[in-house]
Symmetry: C2
Subunit: 264 residues, 2 copies
């Protein structure tokens, strides 16, 4: 059976924080044909609001902690202000977006992160069965475009803060049983670069067999290593390809001129 | 053709502001069988947040004005914090709620209120064709329970503040072509009372022919007059019945022991 193509596209806070980048991105997103899902981070707005409200970001051993006051702020900003502005803008381009948190339609039900050495507070970890593919398929088959904020729930009435990258990859792997899924991460760089200061040194394709070599050569280092591990993990779980590139290049995604393509 | 029954239930800010009343109400709401939609107001949380942020509610000639800063606040609070908390709580009771603003799935597209003697700012007025019944029917037919906040959009990218009572009656009239609709307003009182200080003086049923008499007798006065005009307007447009009563009585809605029933 030929599966329908589905693109799951994640944008980070840098796009959310720039009205002009966001408008350009949403117009390019609308132009992509076929089924698609958007996952967005929150940007600096939540931190700004929190500080205006006199709520300090709590850190323990360098890790951000989500207490109740901060969860209220991120729920308001991510699932409210940012999500609804993105949805309204997409509607203006003609894209029938529907904004969702993981609580909506029980689409992502997670487990509150267990307390080990650090208590991260109201943070949710996605499990293998967290994503409700049935309801998401109903949305997709009816021409709706889900737009996810990084807020989930535990099914017991508690909202939880969840990493947007993980939401994107979990939706991608869950829906890969029904669709031919491309998972697309938009970030600041053109993609994986041989020389981090040279945008022309883009690595256009990475297969697993290249991954070890590129690490040995030092081409892939730092924050890119876990990103690529997650990408190969998604591919192992059924995602067709993972693309990593710049949001402003999204218009080229159909001509294979977008970022780095990670495949089996 | 026998239409399916659909209940559209509106709760005001007094329920949102009381965690115990809200929990009881949501449990009773979940217990109602069949298709249903919830519409909620915002409560005092938005005003509290605005004042913490140093944003003053702007009034012109006694009317509240929604400027951009206030729209951001109500979008965050109504469509974000309140809507997602209500949805997460409903999910915990087993009700497959999906939280929506009018921008989501283009469900309520309105017109920014024209500036006449007063410029109300970013406020949206619902038109006869504002409600997208097609998408709402898809949700309802797939077992989803839409939960609306009082935020809409103009289809051109602008979110707008819209009266929650009007959202409820507009959804009710729009969906009355496909469903047998009961529109249920929950407020502070038991319903329409002959003596406003005596909860036992409930008027259990009002037909249009009674309405003039009750007005003449002074039984219906003040804020109830426009409420009842709107109720009869909804009935003229196809809604089967309008009920006005107390949120804590919702559990009795099936035994006809809920508030005042307004019919043709």
């Amino acid at each position: 059976m030929n599966k329908d193509k589905l693109r799951i596209i994640k944008i980070g806070g840098n796009i959310i924080d720039s009205p002009s980048l966001l408008t350009e991105f949403l117009s390019d997103f609308n132009a992509i044909e076929g089924k698609k899902i958007l996952v967005h981070g929150g940007g600096k707005i939540a931190t700004d609001f929190a500080s205006k409200m006199g709520i300090e970001a709590k850190m323990v051993e360098g890790r951000r902690i989500t207490d109740e006051a901060m969860l209220d702020i991120v729920t308001m900003v991510y699932a409210g202000l940012v999500n609804k502005k993105v949805v309204a803008q997409l509607q203006a381009t003609g894209c029938n977006a529907v904004g969702l948190s993981g609580a909506d339609a029980n689409s992502i039900r997670v487990i509150k992160r267990p307390v080990k050495s650090i208590d991260y507070g109201l943070v949710g970890d996605i499990q293998d069965d967290s994503v409700d593919t049935h309801t998401l398929s109903i949305f997709l088959e009816n021409g709706l475009v889900p737009v996810f904020s990084a807020i989930t729930h535990d099914g017991k009435g508690q909202l939880l803060n969840t990493n947007a990258d993980t939401i994107a990859s979990s939706i991608a792997t869950a829906l890969s049983t029904s669709y031919s899924v491309s998972l697309i991460y938009c970030f600041e760089k053109k993609g994986v670069l041989r020389d981090v200061n040279d945008e022309k040194s883009l690595v256009t394709e990475i297969k697993r067999e290249d991954f070890d070599n590129l690490q040995r050569e030092g081409v892939i280092a730092g924050g890119m290593i876990p990103k690529l591990h997650n990408a190969f993990d998604a591919i192992d779980k059924g995602v067709c390809e993972v693309l990593v590139g710049q949001a402003s290049d999204l218009k080229f995604v159909d001509s294979s001129q977008f970022g780095t393509r990670i495949i089996k």
